[in-house]
Each structure stands twice: as structure tokens, then as C-alpha cells.
């Protein structure tokens, strides 16, 4: 039997909110004709990356019982997503999206430093070790 980690994952929730806003901004960049970048591969790229970011942050915020290795992998992939989207936004000159990525990076840091760990893998291992002894 596992127990969910205690406390609110403020970082994950902030990242989720940022991802949602970013997705809206990316959609606007993609479909708002006349902005100089609409319907280009660059905007499709950020649309995809922010969609993935939203899904990832959803998992991070809601699926608190996932194994620690998966949490770590997801956190790492989200960092790559944030950095990649930030670079893409910079090159697309999509300033608001770039600002969102800045906020997202802060949220990511909060998650890594301050959010309660899921701890699922450790507890499971401990239970098995206890059973074995």
C-alpha cells in the first residue's frame, strides 16, 4: 500500500497554469494571421511543445503517486520543453510566450526545490525490504 505525499505541490500547479496560458498564446501565434509568424513551422512547433508541457505539468500536478524515477524523468523533460520553447519563442519574437517560459522556469525550480516528493518508489522498496527481513 502506498500513501500520497503530503502538502501542496505549488510549483507543479504554477507550472500547470503557466502551461495553459502558454498553449493559448502559442495557439494565438499560430492562427492569428498578420503577426508575421502564423501558420509557420515555428509556431506549430511551439503549439506542440506547449501542448506537451500542459500534459506533463498535468501529470506532475495531479498524478502524485507516480514512481519517483518517472517523476524525475518527467521533471527533466519539462525542463527541456521549457528551455526549447523559450528559445523558439525568442526566435519567433513571441515576447509573451517567452515571458511565460520565464515564469514556467521559476515554477519548475519551485517544484524541484520545494514541492513534496512523491516518494512512491522509496516506500515501495522499503516495504519489500521490510517484508524480506
Amino acid at each position: 500500500m502506498t500513501s500520497k505525499p503530503q502538502g501542496t505541490a505549488y510549483g507543479a500547479w504554477l507550472l500547470l497554469a503557466t502551461s495553459l496560458i502558454s498553449l493559448i498564446l502559442a495557439a494565438a501565434a499560430t492562427f492569428n494571421e498578420g503577426n508575421g509568424i502564423a501558420y509557420t513551422p515555428g509556431t506549430y512547433l511551439v503549439l506542440a511543445s506547449t501542448t506537451l508541457m500542459l500534459l506533463g505539468s498535468l501529470l506532475l500536478a495531479l498524478a502524485r503517486g507516480m514512481p519517483r524515477w518517472l517523476d524525475g524523468l518527467l521533471t527533466f523533460l519539462l525542463l527541456l520543453d521549457l528551455l526549447g520553447t523559450a528559445m523558439a519563442a525568442y526566435l519567433l519574437q513571441a515576447e509573451w510566450l517567452l515571458a511565460c517560459m520565464g515564469v514556467g522556469l521559476v515554477a519548475w525550480l519551485i517544484h524541484v526545490i520545494a514541492d513534496p516528493a512523491t516518494g512512491k518508489r522509496d516506500r515501495h522498496m522499503t516495504q519489500r525490504q521490510e517484508a524480506a527481513s
Binding site: G34, L45, L91, Q93
Partner: protein, 711 residues
């Protein structure tokens, strides 16, 4: 590693095709910008048959013609409306002075703003201090646009809007004329010649606008006292009433002159009229565009002078001697011209002869080819000529009109012209005599190592003003080389490069600048009061490779025709390749485009800044890389430069003194045209035709957008 390097690496990995795409597109361009058209599906025979009846309907004036030699190798063929030149070398210049209607400070009545191609407006309402407040006044869409996805080839629109007769006139890439209210953009009338929308000579539907003429004293209520003209790709010139858009019945055959009736030598394709005529003294001066690289023998270069009212031919200037036209052709005038209204001298930028990259079958001197030549506008006689490239085997067409301006030298006012060039030199000549104001030095250049070719032993070089691009190619881009795992370096080692004018070779020659220039058809702008000259330029590296005919045929059979050009049946075919790595990144160092200002009184370059931004897949590259540009700057008296031209679909205002960008605005596509600056009802407008050009981006538009200060 700097922040910019990091950005550049990331950006380049993501956007590796950015310049590559643009250059690949250049490969399919034409002699308009230095490339080769593709997709010509209609044969000249078909064209001739279709036009036969029209030709018959037109008066054949050849019976009344007389041919007189003029200048070194040229000749003038005088039509029924013309006056035969004396032929004794003495020129009688026409009456001085510009037509009054084109001298108003409020108008933009010609392609270059005025006959002198100064691209200068005395308007000073918009200043460096308030240009930041500039806002869109109105927008209009012509509807004449094609992305090439249907039957109509892609559109390329580089029209300068004309403001004259209280109306803004536009020519579209579908060869319609549109008249707009200059203050609101509301449509007044349109004229549709129902032209053939086929890539007869150019790969795209191209147009650079319309021309305007009016009688010295227009008679009230009488039609066609004011006229607007537009040419088509199939060599038709239409003249319509400037107030109504109705055809002018007295102009040619019911408002149309078929210029192809004079296309009688090597008539492999029609004489495409993409550049609007130059208008002066009730005369239209008309060059034409064709297609290079496919043929060795092509229509020889001509300039026509037509009566503005009737379209009757006054004279035809021939740039090539008759005895060589069975082996060569072109040396035509496809860019705009300039004219000194005080002296009546017409200045024509003459392009290179065909075939463009192998001259073994045209080894005799062709002095008027790749030259700037002054003609007597009245008779077509050559007054002087200066050849800018001897035995041109680089496709260094004289590409832009010379800018005419008086400059102060040693306390004296000197009538000068500034001739930009693809090779990057700015030739500053006395426009009355053709003598250099700044030295032009003949220097030894590398010999050709290709059997049959006889490259000229010397070429003209200019040190002052400093060339618009460096003497030496920029060198290998570390970034591109790194991404290409050393591909750029390895490729460069196998190429021949001995500086400017290294001849095309079998192993491949690194060409800098290549056929793209250097400078392009827009040319420069000048502030006649301060003598400051501004010009945009490109820094591009390409590889020229000649291919023996038997091997070239094999390549064609294997389907490898992309970037390969036949050059007729000469001993060598030709391959043009932009110097890129596997990922499509330019192998040479940026910047790829700059904007520079020169003090013509000293020849000193005042500033030279990367201009615009490369954009690919929506991503903008660093500003320090600049952008390849197509278009031209305009200068205002208040010390501003207005220019579109860049890949990033922005139009900008810059400070003439420093080159600093003071204002920019996003438009629908690259504004590959020059803006019109005019004052209407007390308000200054800056109006751009925004059409795009596949050389820069596969992005097209039909937008006309005017900017003004808020009320």
C-alpha cells in the same frame, strides 16, 4: 561562447534551411535578379502564331526605318516617329527641363521618384523625432496574388506606387492597373488587360508597376490627355486614360502596342515588359526582360523610344553589333533607367551578353555590354559609355539605374552619377562626359583555365567609395562548418578562388559576389542637399561550375537538372550552387545583407550596418546576421530612410545620420519594392506595395499599405 553564439547554434540547428532555401530559390530566378527561369511551357512558335494577327494589325514601321551606327558597337534604328541621328558623332540634345508635372515636391510621379533616380522626397513632416508615432493610415488588397499552388505561377510584386494627378496608381503582377484615393486607399477605377498569366520568360508573375504621362497643357474634357501605362510578360504595352482607366484608342492598336513586333532577331521568347517605361518629353523609353542561361543565342538587347500619345516608335537602340548576334544576345536593359532632364541624356544600365558564364563563342569586344551608357534621348545615339565588366562571364548585369546628383569636388559643383553594380563597386562618373570622378583602375585578374575561354586580362576596380561588400569573401562560418562536420572547409579547398573576377571553372569557382550581387535592381538613394548616398546590398557566396557538354547531357539524362543550365549548345553547360552545408546553412560568415551610407563629396563610407533579419520557418535570426534584400531605400529631407526589402516582412525607418532603426512595422510579406513618399492634402504618406519574392521567402501578398502620422 557568447549569448549570441548559443542562440545562433540553436537557431541554426532548428532552421538550417533558412538561407539555403532562399538561395535555392535564387537558382530558379531569372535575369531579373540574376537567375534562371524554369517552367517555360510554351514555345515561341505558339506565341508567334497567336500573336500573328495582332502583329499584322499593327503598323509595320520597318519600311520607314533607317539604321545608324552609334557608339562602340551599337546602332540606332529610327522609326517613323523619330528623327534620324546625324551619325557624325555630334549630338544635338533635346530641349532642357523636366516635364512640370513630375517636378512637384508633393508627388511620387515615376518609378524612382524622379527622373534622376534619386529616390528622394522633399517631404519633411515625418522626422526622426516623430517617426516613432507613425501608424497605418490605410490598407488595400489588390486580389492579384498567387502562391503558385494553382495554374497561375507565383506572384512577385515589386511595384513602386505612383502618386500623381491626385491619384495613387499601381500595376499588379497580373498586369492590372489600379487607381486609388491616396488619402483613404479607396478604389477609383481598375483596368484589366486580361493578360496571359503564364511564365513565358520569368518563372513568376512579375511586375514593377506603371508609368504616367500627361500632356504639357491637358485639354479639359478630352480623354487621354493623361495616361497610365503597363507592360506585360508577353510584350504588350497598354495605355489607358489616367482619370477613367479606359483604353486610349490612339495609343497603338486600341490602347495596346505589341512590342514583340520588333522582336525580329533570335526571337526565342517575348520581350517581357516588367519594368515600367521611363517617361520624358512625350516619349516612353522602354527596355525589356528575358531569360538567361537557357540559350546561348537570344534576342539582342534593345531600348525602344515610343511616342507617348500614339505608341509609334521613334527609335530603337541596339547594344550589340549585328555581326555577333548569331552567337550571342541579351545585353538588354531590364532595370529602370535615369534621365537628366537638363541635358536630355538617358542613362541605361546594360546587362551582360549571353551565354552568361562562357564567352568562348563571343570573344570579340562588346563594349556596350555590362555598361552604363548615356544616350541622347531625342535620337538614341550613344553620347558616352563606360563598360563595368569586360567580357562578362559572371552574369554581372548592370543592374540598377545610375543615380544622378551634383556633388561638390574641390569647391566646384560636378554633375555626377553613381552607378551601383552586382560586383559591389560604386562607379562615380561625370554624367556629362562619362569621366570618372573617383578613380577606376584597370587591374589584372585571373585567367581562365577552361579550354576555349578567353577571360579579359584586366577588369575595372574602384576603391573609393569603398565597395558595398568586402574585397575578399567572408571566409568559412565556424558554425556552419561545425554543423557540417567540416563539410564547408573541405568543399572550399576544392574550389578555385583568386579574388574578384575569378573565372568559372571545371572544378568549381567560389564566386563572391555572385550573380545575386552585391547591389541589386533597386539601386541607391541620395540626399541631393548633403550628397549622402544610401544603398542596400547582399553578401552571398555561390559556386560556378562549367560542365563539358557531353557530361552535361549525361547529367540531364540522369535527371540532375536542378541547378544545371544548358547555355544553349555551347561547349559547356553550367551549374550554379549556393555554398551551403548539408543542412542548408550558409558556409560563409554573416552578415548576409547590409545598408550603407556614403558621403559622395569625399567618397567616405559613413556607416555600414547589417540590415533586416533572416526569417525561416517563422524564426528570426540574429540582427547581426542581416538579411538578403530586394528593394530600395528612399530618403526624405528630414533625414529619414524608408525601406522594406528584408526577409522578415518588416518595413523600417532609419536615421540617415547613423543608420539606427527608428521605426519598424510588420507587413504581410517582404516588401520587395521601394516605397512612395508623397504629400496629399497636407499630410505626408509613406506607401509600400507588399508583394513578396520567392527568392527571399515563399510568402506572397497583394497588400498596399500607407503610413502617416496620427491626426
Amino acid at each position: 561562447m557568447t549569448r549570441q553564439d548559443v542562440i545562433a547554434i540553436f537557431a541554426s540547428l532548428l532552421l538550417s534551411g533558412c538561407i539555403g532555401y532562399a538561395q535555392a530559390q535564387e537558382d530558379t530566378s531569372t535575369d531579373e535578379e540574376g537567375g534562371q527561369p524554369q517552367g517555360i511551357t510554351e514555345t515561341q512558335d505558339d506565341e508567334s502564331e497567336q500573336d500573328a494577327s495582332a502583329d499584322e494589325a499593327q503598323a509595320d514601321d520597318t519600311e520607314d526605318s533607317s539604321v545608324t551606327p552609334t557608339g562602340p558597337g551599337g546602332s540606332v534604328d529610327t522609326g517613323p516617329a523619330g528623327e534620324a541621328p546625324s551619325g557624325d558623332g555630334e549630338t544635338s540634345l533635346p530641349r532642357p527641363g523636366a516635364d512640370a508635372w513630375m517636378e512637384s515636391p508633393d508627388t511620387w510621379a515615376t518609378f524612382n521618384g524622379d527622373l534622376r533616380a534619386q529616390k528622394y522626397s522633399p517631404a519633411d513632416q515625418i522626422t526622426p523625432e516623430n517617426v516613432g508615432e507613425l501608424e497605418q493610415a490605410w490598407e488595400y488588397h489588390t486580389g492579384d496574388v498567387s502562391d503558385g499552388s494553382d495554374d497561375v505561377p507565383m506572384s512577385v510584386w515589386s511595384a513602386t506606387p505612383l502618386f500623381v494627378n491626385d491619384t495613387l496608381y499601381l500595376g499588379t503582377p497580373f498586369y492590372r492597373i489600379i487607381a486609388l484615393d491616396p488619402g483613404s486607399g479607396e478604389e477609383k477605377w481598375t483596368f484589366d488587360p486580361e493578360a496571359r498569366l503564364e511564365a513565358l520568360t520569368q518563372p513568376n508573375m512579375k511586375n514593377r508597376g506603371v508609368a504616367y504621362w500627361q500632356a504639357d497643357e491637358p485639354r479639359e474634357g478630352e480623354a487621354c490627355q493623361k495616361m497610365v501605362y503597363i507592360g506585360t510578360m508577353d510584350a504588350k504595352l497598354y495605355g489607358v486614360d489616367a482619370d477613367t482607366g479606359e483604353r486610349c484608342a490612339d495609343f497603338g492598336n486600341d490602347g495596346m502596342v505589341d512590342v514583340d513586333q520588333w522582336n525580329t532577331v533570335n526571337d526565342k521568347w517575348p520581350l517581357s515588359l516588367l519594368q515600367p517605361p521611363t517617361v520624358y518629353n512625350d516619349t516612353l523609353f522602354l527596355g525589356w526582360a528575358g531569360k538567361d542561361w537557357t540559350d546561348a543565342v537570344a534576342p539582342p538587347g534593345t531600348v525602344f523610344a515610343l511616342d507617348a500619345r500614339t505608341g509609334e516608335r521613334r527609335w530603337t537602340f541596339h547594344a550589340l553589333p549585328e555581326e555577333v548576334v548569331d552567337r550571342t544576345g541579351t545585353a538588354n536593359v531590364w532595370a529602370s533607367m535615369s534621365l537628366d532632364p537638363e541635358t536630355g541624356l538617358l542613362y541605361i544600365p546594360i546587362s551582360s551578353p549571353s551565354p552568361n558564364y562562357y564567352g568562348g563563342d563571343r570573344t570579340e569586344e562588346l563594349p556596350l555590354a555590362t555598361s552604363v551608357t548615356a544616350l541622347n534621348a531625342e535620337t538614341g545615339e550613344v553620347v558616352w559609355s563606360w563598360q563595368l565588366v569586360h567580357h562578362d562571364i559572371w552574369d554581372y548585369d548592370t543592374v540598377a539605374p545610375p543615380t544622378l546628383v551634383d556633388i561638390e569636388k574641390d569647391g566646384e559643383r560636378v554633375p555626377a552619377l553613381v552607378q551601383p553594380s552586382k560586383q559591389g563597386f560604386l562607379f562615380v562618373l561625370n554624367r556629362e562626359t562619362g569621366e570618372p570622378i573617383y578613380p577606376i583602375e584597370e587591374r589584372e585578374v585571373p585567367a581562365s583555365d577552361v579550354e576555349g575561354e578567353e577571360a579579359a586580362p584586366t577588369q575595372p576596380f574602384v576603391d573609393v567609395p569603398e565597395p558595398v561588400i568586402p574585397d575578399e569573401w567572408p571566409g568559412i562560418s565556424r558554425l556552419a562548418d561545425m554543423v557540417g562536420l567540416g563539410e564547408c572547409s573541405r568543399k572550399a579547398e576544392g574550389l578555385r578562388y583568386e579574388g574578384r573576377f575569378t573565372p568559372p571553372s571545371l572544378e568549381g569557382t567560389l564566386a563572391y559576389p555572385p550573380t545575386t550581387g552585391g547591389s541589386q535592381w533597386g539601386g541607391g538613394a541620395v540626399d541631393p542637399e548633403s550628397g549622402v548616398f544610401v544603398i542596400n546590398s547582399n553578401s552571398v557566396v555561390q559556386i560556378y561550375r562549367l560542365i563539358p557538354r557531353d557530361e552535361f547531357e549525361q547529367l540531364e539524362q540522369s535527371g540532375e537538372t536542378g541547378g544545371y543550365y544548358a547555355q544553349g549548345d555551347t561547349a559547356y553547360g553550367f551549374q550554379l550552387e549556393t555554398f551551403l552545408n548539408w543542412a542548408g546553412m550558409p558556409c560563409w560568415k554573416p552578415p548576409y545583407g547590409t545598408l550603407a551610407a556614403y558621403d559622395l563629396t569625399t567618397g567616405e563610407r559613413l556607416w555600414n550596418e547589417p540590415f533586416g533579419q533572416v526569417q525561416k520557418h517563422g524564426f528570426y535570426m540574429p540582427e547581426s546576421w542581416g538579411s538578403v534584400t530586394i528593394g530600395a531605400p528612399v530618403i526624405t529631407r528630414s533625414g529619414l530612410i524608408f525601406i522594406g526589402a528584408s526577409m522578415d516582412s518588416r518595413v523600417r525607418a532609419l536615421d540617415l545620420k547613423s543608420g539606427e532603426v527608428l521605426w519598424k512595422h510588420l507587413v504581410d510579406a517582404p516588401a520587395v519594392s521601394m516605397p512612395a513618399v508623397y504629400t496629399y492634402e497636407g499630410k505626408q504618406y509613406v506607401t509600400f506595395a507588399v508583394g513578396g519574392n520567392s527568392i527571399l521567402l515563399p510568402k506572397v501578398s497583394d497588400q498596399v499599405v500607407a503610413f502617416a502620422l496620427p491626426d
